[in-house]
């Protein structure tokens, strides 16, 4: 399970947002760290086929995104930065709608994620309207939804922003456990430093470029800094980061 990007470039009008970005991600927990406007969401939009790069290529699990979009989407789950749930529908209706878009029947869909729903403590909330859920529960629903088609690659774009400490902890631990249990490739975009562990693969991005990539602890050692915060300050000019 891997994601490979080769010399990706993307412009918004004349503004360069992603600058010849080459990246290889393997199974496990990969953290994409960068300030607002660094290009994280643009990279996500390109990986999900919502945006088309001006140049460069994306391969996911060996499939080329421009040639094999369907095979890639079958094996990819995404949690976007902005909630994409339909607040007027119930949790169950949201889940079965998403499953239907992947050609999965309602029964099969709920079968696929019955364990996940239990682990995320959503089983009793299935018939509740999404509108009645708090931010933490909505995020959990989005994670459960992203796993409905049993993806091999999971992309999460700032999935814990705006959540309280307990919800953040639960979600980060749960996604971390998915990597170990299922061997999937997770790309976790964040600007929250406390979500990064020493043994996580870390990619620091700024102004559309990769500033560093490697094991978090190794990168700190290499750049002779005590923690990821210092590493981030050393490699980027931005001060927009939360510890």
């Amino acid at each position: 399970m891997n994601i490979v990007t080769n010399e990706l470039t993307f412009y918004y009008g004349k503004k360069l947002a992603i600058d010849s970005l080459s990246l290889t991600l393997n199974s496990g927990f990969n953290v994409l760290l960068g300030p607002n406007g660094a290009g994280k969401s643009t990279l996500f939009a390109m990986l999900t086929g919502l945006y088309q790069a001006a140049s460069g290529a994306i391969k996911i699990n060996g499939y080329d995104l421009t040639l094999d979009r369907s095979n890639i989407m079958k094996s990819m789950g995404v949690v976007f930065q902005q909630s994409t749930l339909d607040v007027d529908l119930s949790v169950k209706q949201n889940l079965t709608y998403y499953a239907a878009l992947h050609g999965i029947s309602s029964t099969q869909a709920l079968d696929n994620i019955s364990d996940i729903l239990a682990q995320l403590q959503l089983t009793t909330r299935l018939n509740d309207k999404v509108r009645s859920l708090n931010g933490g529960h909505r995020r959990r629903v989005e994670i459960a939804r992203a796993l409905i088609h049993q993806p091999k690659v999971l992309l999460l774009d700032e999935a814990t922003v705006g959540l309280d400490i307990d919800s953040r902890k639960m979600i980060t631990e749960y996604v971390g456990s998915l990597c170990q249990q299922r061997g999937i490739c997770v790309l976790w975009a964040t600007h929250l430093i406390d979500e990064i562990a020493d043994d996580d693969q870390l990619i620091i991005i700024d102004e559309g470029k990769i500033k560093a990539q490697g094991l978090s602890a190794d990168l700190c050692k290499k750049h002779k800094v005590v923690d990821v915060y210092q590493l981030y300050r050393t490699l980027t000019s931005s001060t927009e980061i939360s510890r």
């Binding site: 919502l50 994409t84 339909d86 050609g103 999965i104």
Partner: protein, 260 residues
């Protein structure tokens, strides 16, 4: 259609129906608007606007009878534009991303949306026609059956037009522009409220605008279908217009290109 496609189709249609029935005010306003035209407007204007014998009617008809197909098309037009509004809303709320992340082909997904929207139109028109019976709008029983494919085709066309527009509308706030620049001109520059020969007497250039308005073809297609007849010219026009609108609607859902 294999199971994956069928599940997807069912899912999209079910979602659109669920959303529609949750918005009861939408159903109510979809019916109140044409009923006001049929009961109030038509009552006031029936004396002023005499309609002579014309196809497909075999005899003199009341003004209510004349404007019924136009009002049915009005319902479909509003529903098509409402669907475009819902697409803009989905785009702003992010639900559109979920749709576009499906592994199934995007043209198929958009067709499912259009079919779902067409089914909603069909439902609203049938309810309206049942109410129209109460004000003595006389439609032959077989007319209801023969009107179904016509309503569906018109709804598909106007839905595709709405889908195309939804990509041009960048914000929900701009939707008022659609009312002023699309819905009203399409409706008033058609044979929905007056026969075109009356328009020809009033203004020749307005008459030609009405002739070239595909909404006129929609109204005439339905008018004939309600009397179990086929207006070949109108059918051809609507089919061509549907093809063009569907093509541009599908083209407008390509990924954003990041070139300079």
């Amino acid at each position: 259609m294999n199971n994956r496609y069928l599940s997807c189709f069912n899912g999209i249609v079910k979602r659109e129906l669920l959303r529609f029935f949750q918005q009861r005010s939408r159903l109510l306003s979809a019916l109140i608007r044409p009923l006001l035209w049929l009961i109030v407007f038509a009552a006031g204007f029936r004396a002023a606007l005499g309609v002579s014998i014309m196809e497909p009617y075999g005899t003199y008809i009341t003004y209510q009878q004349y404007i019924t197909p136009g009002l049915c098309c009005m319902i479909i037009l509003f529903n098509g534009m409402q669907s475009s509004l819902s697409m803009v809303y989905d785009r702003e709320m992010g639900s559109m991303k979920v749709l576009l992340m499906s592994p199934l082909p995007r043209p198929f997904l958009l067709c499912c949306k259009l079919v779902a929207s067409a089914l909603l139109s069909l439902l609203q028109v049938v309810i309206f026609l049942l109410f129209a019976q109460l004000v003595d709008v006389d439609i032959p029983l077989m007319g209801y059956v023969s009107a179904i494919p016509a309503i569906f085709l018109i709804a598909f066309f106007l839905g595709a037009l709405g889908l195309m527009l939804s990509n041009l509308i960048k914000q929900l706030e701009n939707f008022a522009g659609v009312m002023n620049f699309v819905i009203f001109p399409m409706f008033f520059l058609s044979s929905a409220l007056y026969p075109l020969w009356k328009m020809q007497e009033a203004s020749l250039w307005l008459y030609w605008l009405c002739q070239f308005n595909p909404f006129t073809a929609c109204v005439e297609l339905l008018r004939f279908a309600l009397y179990t007849q086929v207006n070949i010219m109108a059918l051809t026009t609507v089919l061509i217009a549907t093809g063009i609108a569907s093509f541009f609607a599908l083209m407008s859902f390509k990924p954003l290109h990041g070139g300079k």
